[in-house]
């Protein structure tokens, strides 16, 4: 429908609040008697705690109390857990080491929380934290996954001998080995996927409030999924039963995955609030964010891709080691397994795939999902391999991909996924045309005359969104179901509240969800409010990650709207003495088709609540709820092309153009979708060119704990993007939506590295392609095998 419905470029309703400083974030919350926390953190990457003396700190001005891990343990607060069980190929369960919210005997990374200081002000808490004397006995340190697996490496958790958490596989090893042995050509490559820090604009924060009269806790927190937080804190951490714990995630300033997980700070502040009888607030500073927010990626992989004599892929073998850091974060085990290896077929028909994944502990920040979560790692691996293969085979990278595309759907891959719909060639063609792919040689020659090196590269990505159906994820080890819920409440005069289990932290739900309602009921979006983020207001829901709010969250709203619509039609039919099946909803009115009889929407709502004249036996009110569990993942896909120009004197890469051709299925609000793509591309370009968390291997100190050394992309690092959409509606959900939140971050890194390696003439380059690395690579002779 019209200007505000599905497909309309509506400006975001929530932006007025955000842009005028009127957002309400966790740190903005003030409650009577509130005090402030500062965490004493380990300065060592690995050490035994031999003593904690807080007596001097407790005597300092404003200090209310200093609490440590022994007290926490004595009060029965549980350890943090990973909620997705993975079994090794020998059948044994993953080896999860204990993660205590406050370390008791051992610290395992720099930043590991050891004690909490509660004081009248944040400054006093911090002052006092410096007076807490912790005696450490330093232990040897290991920071990289390869070193952690070596014989004699420092042992990080007693539960995981040799630091190996699991050794898992997927696919058919025998068939894959056979394909490789019979291949006409095998491309072999080693792939590194760099470790990233998520850097949401709003750092994490929490406010724990204990009400002794009701024995009730309230937790304000920067969460992407407040209900999951409550569930986990109740069921596993023994903070409080669910009916005694309210979790509120108000405005949240970005998450990118890092705010899915339950961290020590929420649990400790809730417990500390009870211990000290005051509300306790903690807000991370930027340094703490670098030290404690779950990192992303950090894979090392070996790849073999086998081709027959016609350049068809006949097998793919992958051996990956994923660094999970010092502890297993909430979904850490799922990321390098079911969110990664299940996407290794990419857009290609590959008859045999085998992937082996080992995950390891190191003395680094825990690693978990970060925008894309597993799928960027799969895409980077596959699309780099395809590019190298095309170079080795001396064929066009576009033609090699085209030849191997999956063309009929549904398509069952050898790695679980069943692709429902897609048209990969449409995106490839659209991207090549938008990028003027065929005109590249002339542009390269022109750049050459100016002493610059041009390169062009593409990436054909596929990803999986929704992370559902629940039964399927349950059978793969997930501790939760991944459905979504909605309640549509029509008020007595027709305005509408939608209570959703999704959580918006930048995605624009308040606008898109309202557009859906506007489309269905013909009411203006101004009369629709989206309510989310509070376990006391909203029914149980699963939150927002994995680009699931459109495909899963909105589908739940559709189901609830179906019920509302049905009841409204019944009432209207009754009032207008017409047949229910003749009622249509148009422009805010319920009409009897083919007549001039109409009732405005608000009158039907009012009739539902006055209940003076309802059909016999009908309950008063107009409010319906629904739970939606999808039948499959959704599969957004597309083709990205990057064209770069390198200054050979400095190694600096400029992005000349970046083309993104995406198939997200149906689109509710193109403006918001484009914004999501822009943001995703910025993060993907950040990974490809700029960002990397680095550790000192000897000490485990993080070397990139500020923006002085961790390079975030800035506006002038990015080109203006050229976007287009190819739309094959998703058959699996009522709106035909696939999801768009992560694609940009998933598809862009390989396009850039393919372009840069095209420019420099060889493939010995790892992300991030900093000027130093590119310049160094340019000092190497171009020893590419292929005739170019």
């Amino acid at each position: 429908m019209g200007v505000e419905g599905i497909g309309a470029r509506v400006a975001r309703k929530e932006d007025k609040r955000f842009l005028t400083g009127k957002g309400r974030y966790t740190d903005d919350m003030v409650v009577p008697g509130m005090k402030f926390a500062y965490f004493v953190r380990s300065p060592h990457a690995h050490a035994r705690i031999t003593g904690i003396d807080a007596s001097a700190a407790k005597a300092m001005p404003g200090v209310i109390d200093v609490l440590d891990g022994k007290q926490l343990q004595a009060d029965g607060i549980g350890n943090l857990i990973c909620g997705w069980m993975i079994h090794s190929k020998d059948g044994s369960p993953m080896k999860m080491g204990a993660w205590r919210p406050l370390a008791v005997d051992t610290v395992r990374y720099v930043g590991d929380a050891v004690a909490i200081v509660v004081a009248d002000s944040a400054a006093e808490a911090r002052d006092a934290s410096e007076a807490v004397v912790v005696d450490y006995e330093e232990l040897p340190v290991v920071t990289t996954s390869l070193a952690a697996l070596e014989a004699g490496a420092p042992q990080i958790h007693p539960e995981a001998p040799g630091n190996l958490i699991f050794d898992w596989q997927i696919g058919d090893p025998a068939a894959t080995d056979k394909a490789i042995s019979e291949a006409a050509h095998v491309t072999e490559i080693e792939i590194l996927n760099n470790r990233l820090s998520p850097n949401p604009m709003e750092p994490r924060a929490t406010l724990g409030i204990y009400d002794s009269a009701e024995d009730h806790f309230t937790c304000y927190t920067t969460s992407q999924n407040p209900h999951v937080a409550r569930l986990v804190m109740s069921a596993f951490y023994n903070v409080a039963p669910e009916n005694k714990l309210r979790v509120i995630a108000p405005d949240v300033g970005g998450g990118f995955g890092s705010k899915i997980y339950i961290y020590p700070e929420e649990i400790v502040c809730l417990w500390a609030s009870k211990k000290t009888s005051v509300p306790v607030k903690w807000t991370s500073d930027r340094t703490e964010a670098f030290l404690t927010d779950a990192h992303g990626r950090d894979h090392v992989s070996k790849v073999k891709m086998a081709f027959d004599k016609d350049h068809r892929i006949i097998g793919l073998k992958v051996d990956t080691i994923a660094n999970l850091g010092a502890y297993m974060s909430l979904f850490s085990s799922a990321v390098p397994t079911y969110l990664y290896a299940t996407l290794l077929s990419g857009q290609y028909a590959i008859p045999a795939i085998h992937a082996n994944v080992r995950t390891v502990y190191t003395n680094t920040v825990p690693v978990d999902a970060y925008r894309g979560a597993g799928r960027p790692e799969a895409t980077y691996l596959l699309e780099r391999t395809m590019e190298v293969a095309a170079r080795e085979l001396g064929v066009s990278p576009a033609e090699l991909r085209r030849k191997n595309f999956i063309r009929s759907f549904p398509y069952q891959t050898p790695v679980i996924m069943n692709y429902d719909a897609g048209d990969y060639e449409a995106s490839l063609n659209a991207a090549m045309e938008a990028a003027d792919w065929n005109g590249f040689p002339a542009r390269r020659a022109e750049a050459e005359r100016r002493g610059k090196k041009r390169g062009i590269g593409m990436s054909c990505y596929i990803e999986a969104c929704g992370i559902a159906p629940s039964q399927a994820v349950g059978s793969l080890g997930a501790g939760v179901g991944l459905w979504e819920s909605a309640e549509v409440r029509v008020n007595a005069v027709g305005t509408i509240e939608v209570l959703t289990g999704s959580h918006s932290h930048g995605q624009g739900h308040e606008t898109t969800f309202a557009q859906l309602v506007a489309d269905r009921l013909g009411v203006p979006i101004a009369s629709v409010n989206i309510v989310h983020g509070d376990t006391d207001k909203v029914q149980m829901g699963m939150g927002t990650y994995g680009s699931r709010s459109g495909a899963v969250g909105m589908s739940a709203i559709v189901k609830a709207l179906d019920k509302v619509e049905m009841k409204a039609k019944k009432i209207a039919a009754h009032l207008m003495e017409a047949d229910e099946s003749d009622i249509v909803i148009e422009n805010g009115e319920l009409k009897v088709a083919g007549t001039d009889k109409t009732l405005p929407w608000f009158q039907v709502a009012l009739a539902a609540y006055t209940a003076h004249n309802l059909p016999a036996g009908m309950e008063p009110g107009l409010k319906e709820s629904a739970f939606y569990d999808p039948s499959n993942f959704t599969f957004p896909a597309g083709c990205y092309i990057a064209e770069v120009e390198i200054d050979p004197e400095t190694g600096k890469t400029d992005i000349i153009q970046f083309v993104a051709a995406d198939d997200f299925g149906n689109i509710i609000n193109p403006l918001i979708v484009e914004g999501q793509v822009h943001g995703g591309l910025a993060q993907g370009i950040g990974q490809a060119l700029l960002e990397e968390v680095r550790y000192d291997e000897a000490t485990g100190q993080i070397l990139t704990a500020s923006y002085m050394d961790y390079a975030m992309p800035r506006a002038d690092d990015l080109p203006s993007f050229t976007l287009s959409h190819q739309n094959t509606p998703c058959p699996g959900n009522p709106l035909g939506i696939k999801g768009c939140g992560e694609a940009g971050a998933i598809g862009s890194p390989p396009a850039l590295i393919n372009a840069i390696t095209d420019a420099i003439g060889h493939d010995r380059l790892t992300m991030p392609a900093t000027p130093l690395k590119v310049w160094t690579a340019l000092q190497d002779a171009p020893t590419r095998l292929a005739a170019e």
């Binding site: 400054a123 911090r126 002052d127 340094t287 004197e649 400095t650 190694g651 600096k652 060119l689 700029l690 680095r694 070397l703 990139t704 923006y707 002085m708 050394d709 961790y710 390079a711 975030m712 900093t770 000027p771 130093l772 310049w775 160094t776």
Partner: protein, 265 residues
Amino acid sequence: MYDTSYHRASSVDEAVNLRSSHDEGRYLSGGMTLIATMKQRLAAPSDLIDLRHIPALKGISVEGRRVRIGAATSHAEVAASSALRAVCPAISDLASMIGDPHVRHMGTIGGSVANDDPAADYPAAVLGLGATVITDRREIAADDFFTGMFETALDEGEMITAIAFDAPDKAGYAKFRNPASRYAITGVFVAKTGSGVRVAVTGAGSNGVFRHAGMEAALSTSWVPESVASVSVDASALMSDLHATAEYRANLVRVMAKRAVASAG
């Protein structure tokens, strides 16, 4: 940040007196380095003596070829000064390359020169122009001023009041930015002055800003970009860090010198 006391001085004398009566006190200019360091709890001055409201420290004067820039003059003012641009556009260009707009409107030349960050831009200009650092008690030649990383010839409590120099015949600055901080990984300031050619390198030296004799000789012979392109740069005296190896920096010194000469015309 630890507790500190703030003083707003209205004259140089008042500021120097305040500073001498507080052993653990520090001058505060733009605060772009000092406040950030205090927030990180890496510095804990008992007292801050704010210099930004002292009229004598502010403003740019150009008399003939003689230039004087007050210590509390912001980078933005230096970048925007048409009087300065008319005689020495290189220093205005350099100021426009520092940080971001916020930093340029707060940060000052005096603060930057006193701080002598090895990756800061101004030290290259001050040394490259052969400028004079004027303090509350004396005048110090640039060649004697920068003594190492974050180290200068300033005595305890000594205050920079201005930077003065004769406008060069030609000058240029080229900077290669650190992708994260945008400070100089390598910055080269070249100047052709009445008393000869000067080439100053910042961001690269393991002992802070330095002059490059080989390049100065080459450019004295022939002031064209190609002159410096083949001059050898000793990597062993350069820094290696996360962002750049010494070899890479040695290359950048040559490339930036070449571009600085080209920009000088």
